[in-house]
């Protein structure tokens, strides 16, 4: 029998590059034009920094709270950027049927997820830029170029573990509940991990619990840039974030394949 068939096609590297570049461009535009998203990722860190960072310029010898918060709020903004873009974003697009239309197209899945992660990273750069600018101009913070680049690198890398947490959340929670649940998860985590104030001022038991949180390890890496980490060992924190990423991706993969088998 004759069937209208097609040869296997070989899609070339320029095709994939162009596709990925455009997916990222429009993902970024979508996020940047979404006021709720910009508010959560850039607005809150800026507002909090103006309220608590700029006003606490002179803390004490060896400790500059304004400098501490440049690192802390940068982490805070990045976590929001990743959780809201992946968690709430994918959950919403899935429920609306938009994701299904994309899945029916030849667009590969990695492009969709990758574009969202890169978008978070671009927001991360914007967050660090805002925090450092505010810190240097209004907070009296001294930061070398090397420190700024170091901080930006840590913040950008954080897109990956928190995006994978967001991906898992997007598979578990309905879109209407997503913003609420994400706030319930990341605000307490940020608080307990010393993103808003040094972890030493928190209750003793919280300090013990903090190391199980991914946000704690992220915070330690960022604080290390200005020498505020509890110890200067960084490898353990990178390992913790890598392990957390693998765990989230693994569970997300399990949930996804189980839901696909049911479909």
């Amino acid at each position: 029998m004759a069937t209208a068939a097609i040869r296997p096609i070989k899609l070339s590297a320029p095709y994939y590059l162009n596709l990925f570049a455009l997916e990222t461009k429009y993902e970024f535009l979508k996020a940047a034009r979404n006021r709720m998203y910009s508010l959560a990722t850039l607005g809150f860190p800026i507002m909090f920094y103006l309220l608590f960072g700029v006003t606490n310029r002179h803390a004490g010898p060896g400790f500059n709270y304004a400098q501490y918060l440049v690192a802390g709020y940068s982490c805070f903004g990045m976590i929001a950027a990743a959780l809201f873009n992946l968690g709430a974003g994918i959950s919403t697009e899935r429920a609306q049927g938009w994701l299904e239309l994309k899945q029916a197209s030849p667009m590969p899945r990695f492009a969709y997820l990758g574009a969202k992660v890169v978008t978070c990273m671009l927001f991360g750069v914007a967050i660090v830029t805002c925090m450092v600018t505010l810190g240097v101009t209004l907070g009296g913070v001294h930061a070398t170029v090397l420190q700024i680049v170091h901080l930006a690198a840590v913040i950008i890398a954080g897109a990956i573990p928190f995006a994978s947490l967001g991906l898992l959340l997007s598979l578990l929670i309905p879109p209407s509940a997503a913003p609420g649940i994400i706030n319930l998860i990341y605000l307490p985590m940020s608080f307990c991990s010393g993103l808003w104030m040094p972890i030493e001022v928190l209750p003793h038991w919280l300090q013990k619990v903090a190391p199980v949180l991914p946000t704690y390890h992220y915070a330690q890496l960022a604080l290390n840039v200005f020498g505020y980490a509890r110890s200067s060992a960084t490898l353990i924190h990178w390992e913790a974030l890598a392990g957390f990423t693998c765990l989230m991706m693994g569970i997300a993969w399990l949930v996804f394949t189980r839901s696909e088998a049911k479909a």
């Binding site: 068939a5 097609i6 596709l19 455009l22 609306q96 049927g97 899945q103 667009m107």
Partner: protein
């Protein structure tokens, strides 16, 4: 970059039971799709040939959208096989040659029409020109509008445009004209006919019988997950008893009901509406018996009547 090329070959040999009177672009072969306790499709088979406009008709829950989702590889069948362009529908080689317009609640609203088209074109190795998509889907003048600012009909047209971005050989349209005004609907019909004229195949689901009648070269009537009839619109209409006679007469309903080939008589205001497979002989008798008979009309059964008869609970 190698574009997808059409070649007649025998990728599909394992399903060679179908008569080789043409090539298929898509086929479901005795597909059953079950969700927990609910059977959406039951041993359903059909195929689409090049250049055909096939319409899936059926009441809500008949399995139309399930059939489309299977053909798009969004879900997999419980049993049976699904082939699109000779391939598994999840194969990206198949996906580069198809386009789909689905029933979507919302599309990202803060992208402009132009940007949506630009993005979807990038998914395909040899896309239509953006200007061509705009022309075919009738999007002139709204290219720079944010999707969220469009009217319902305009949104449907953008989704139609997105389905065409890859210059597909096979287009799936799930309820395409929902929310469109009459003029927009007619324009879309013209575009669907133009696609078919260029050798593209179209699978259309619709609630509008008029739409299936106007567009489809073949109609498949689905009910409760199974095919109840298929054929050209004319053939489907012929499946229900013949034609309809309408007239004002003094003859009693019971007398008319007793005439040969009459299947049904109902009173409609002062007239009788009579369904009969052979209306000529019925009318002959009636004219002889009743000289006052007037306002006589004889019409072919509407597709709507055929549809209602075919999907009536209890039949099949």
């Amino acid at each position: 970059m190698s574009a997808a090329t059409f070649i007649p070959d025998s990728v599909d040999e394992q399903f060679g039971s179908f008569p080789a009177n043409g090539t298929t672009v898509a086929r479901l072969h005795s597909v059953t799709k079950r969700y927990q306790t609910n059977t959406a499709l039951n041993q359903f088979s059909f195929e689409i040939y090049p250049g055909e406009v096939v319409s899936l008709l059926g009441p809500n829950g008949a399995g139309k959208t399930t059939a489309i989702r299977l053909l798009l590889g969004l879900i997999s069948p419980t049993s049976g096989s699904v082939r699109v362009l000779g391939r598994d529908p999840r194969d990206s080689a198949a996906r580069t040659r198809i386009g789909a317009m689905l029933q979507i609640a919302r599309v990202p609203e803060n992208l402009r029409v132009r940007e949506h088209i630009d993005l979807f074109r990038s998914y395909y190795p040899s896309p239509l020109k953006a200007a061509e998509v705009v022309r075919i889907a009738g999007l002139e003048g709204i290219e720079d509008t944010f999707f969220g600012k469009l009217s319902g009909g305009q949104k449907q047209r953008v989704l139609f445009g997105l389905a065409l971005c890859g210059d597909p050989d096979l287009v799936f349209l799930d309820e395409p004209t929902v929310g469109m005004d009459i003029e927009a609907r007619r324009n879309l019909w013209d575009q669907i006919r133009a696609l078919s004229a260029r050798g593209k195949s179209v699978l259309l689901t619709t609630h509008y019988l008029e739409e299936a009648d106007a567009l489809a070269s073949r109609i498949i009537v689905l009910n409760k997950g199974a095919m109840v009839a298929q054929g050209t619109p004319a053939q489907i209409k012929n499946q229900v008893s013949g034609r309809t006679i309408r007239c004002v007469t003094q003859l009693s309903i019971d007398f008319v009901r007793g005439l040969p080939t009459v299947s049904n008589v109902v009173a409609d205001r002062d007239a009788l509406v009579i369904s009969a497979t052979h209306p000529e002989s019925v009318v002959r008798v009636m004219l002889q018996r009743d000289e006052t008979l007037h306002d006589l009309e004889i019409s072919a059964a509407a597709l709507e009547d055929a549809f209602l008869a075919l999907t009536k609970p209890g039949t099949n």
